[in-house]
Amino acid sequence: MALSPRTWILLALLLLLAAVPPAAAYFGQPFYLDLLRRVMIFAIAAISLNLILGYGGMVSFGHAAYLGIGAYAVGVLAHYGIHNGWLQWGLAIGASALVALAIGAISVRTSGIYFIMITLAFTQMLYYLGISIEEYGGDDGMRLNVRSQFSGLIDLNDPTEFYYLVLAILALFLYLSRRLVESRFGLVLQAARSNEVRSRAIGLSPYPYRLAAFVISGALCGLAGALLVNHTAYLTPEFMNWTRSGELMFMVILGGIATTSGPLLGAAALLLLEDVLQGWSVLPKWVHEHWQLYLGVILVLVVLFAKRGLAGFLPGKNE
């Protein structure tokens, strides 16, 4: 099978990411390892959101909920002394899927603005739940003293090993999301997005497909949450803050909605931009202190003028 130019670019990007650890070690800049690991974890979350937002046309404004559930699954088990990663990550995925099923069962029935607000409200509910449970740190959150352990197979305390694990999961997710979108399931999902009436007319009921996509998306994002808490070694309800959901949506749009490489490009662009605005000593102080002002303006401009996102600049047609 001949690969499209876009797939080659994506493969090249992944190879480039794979080359980062040795390069960072060579130049003595371990900071970049950390930054790019964060980028990849958010890319994984954005891929999961793109499944429903991009291909399913469901504007979920509450995707941070699953980041939080995944993170709490790991954190809570660790709190009770269970450090087995298989169990923790399994719970992260399972619990996220269950919650997505509950939220989806109600919200997928609605559409448009109702869907946006309901997903937002449910996430807000989980956020307040996180804040009010004092046992798990409440408002302040809690430390993850021991990272997930995988029977000695892989050591997450080693930055390089953790980095390659995240990269492998990212590559797997990119592949899986592509396969899913091109499958019959994915085609029905996209058909329902482009014309619901017509897809109903040919005998396809969108609801079960949409709900299934919603659950898959939540489960995948739960894994991103488990990765994120291991990355930060800290857990707070802020993982589920509604601005986080907005950021995830922005990553998908910025990168290019309903494209395979979009979420990765968008996560990289947003987090690197934040890093530049906050941290670069070349920029004057007033930019560092109020970087969100500029981020806000950039966001508005991207939405108004650059609808196709970064993937729109790549050669070849949109997948």
């Binding site: 603005i113 309901i118 949506m249």
Partner: protein, 306 residues
């Protein structure tokens, strides 16, 4: 649990309800007529609170502060509409959500640049502070009673404008068929700007009233905004009547939940379990309520026609 406490909490619930209504009315009109999801509505609430506090301190007169604060919020709202939001009416909800999300970041940082990140102190003038003796031995803050009065007065005024005036007729017509209104020679763009400015002023009013009660700080708009979303989803998006009913329900349920859920749970659970479950459940209550309402009425309690 005595009657005085219940009466007091009922008044608190009513006060929160009318606050939410002031915000929800503008948001639901803007959605109903322009089909715009405006996340930045909470930012206008914040602007109203800041401007009024600033003008009150600068002029020394509360009444002047309120007038200038309202006028300022109206101007900020209209400028925002002309510069950024006008182009969004034709876009899909996703673009609207993201662009207005960007506006929130912008406004929060702008306020932080002008007034700093810490909460600023907002006061009530002497003639509005103090308590009033109500029936029995219930003493209630005068200022909160004023808020309830203002909120109810606005609700009546809004009902009058929407259902009894020419402007209200245009608003209702615009909500049900925009193209037809424009075809009949009405300047629909001007109508949009008026409605948006109107909604902004209501949000500013809510902000300036709540300033002395809640903290005036950057980001104050978002917390209340999400509650307002719950209100208009429960009430039915686009319906002012729904906004009023939804706001009162949400205000009551939230206040009562925070006041009485813990003691109520303590009667069936162990005290320590109630200590944990009470506040957790209370803060989730309005979202649970929304889920229940939507399970039975997916379009809210008062679906808007058109």
């Amino acid at each position: 649990m005595n009657l005085v406490l219940i009466a007091e909490q009922t008044l608190n619930g009513l006060q929160l309800g009318v606050m939410l209504f002031l915000l929800a009315a503008g948001l639901t009109l803007v959605f109903g007529i322009m089909n715009l999801v405006n996340l930045a509505h909470g930012a206008l609430y914040m602007v109203g609170a800041y401007l009024t506090t600033y003008f009150y301190q600068a002029t020394g007169s509360f009444a002047l502060g309120v007038i200038l604060g309202l006028a300022g919020t109206l101007v900020v709202g209209i400028v925002t509409e002309l510069v950024a939001l006008r182009t969004l009416y034709e876009r899909d909800h996703l673009d609207q959500v993201l662009a207005t999300f960007g506006l929130i970041l912008f406004f929060n940082e702008l306020i932080a640049i002008l007034w700093g990140r810490a909460a600023i102190y907002s006061t009530i003038p002497d003639y509005l502070s103090g308590h009033v003796e109500l029936i029995g031995n219930l003493r209630y803050p005068l200022y909160r009673l004023v808020i309830i009065g203002v909120g109810l007065a606005v609700a009546i005024l809004l009902w009058f404008v929407v259902s009894r005036t020419r402007l209200g007729m245009l608003i209702r017509a615009g909500a049900s068929n925009r193209a037809m209104v424009a075809a009949l020679g009405i300047n629909i763009r001007l109508l949009y700007t008026i409605v948006f400015g109107f909604g902004a002023a209501l949000a500013g009013l809510a902000g300036l009233l709540s300033g002395p009660i809640y903290a005036v700080q950057p980001g104050m708009g978002e917390l209340v905004l999400i509650q307002v979303f719950v209100v208009i989803v429960i009430g039915g998006i686009g319906s002012v009547r729904g906004a009023l009913v939804g706001a009162l329900i949400v205000g009551m349920v939230d206040t009562m939940g925070r006041a009485f859920l813990k003691p109520a749970l303590a009667t069936i659970l162990s005290p320590s379990a109630a200590e944990t479950a009470g506040p957790a459940l209370a803060s989730m209550l309005i979202y649970l309520l929304m889920a229940v309402v939507l399970a039975f009425r997916p379009e809210g309690l008062f679906p808007s026609r058109g």
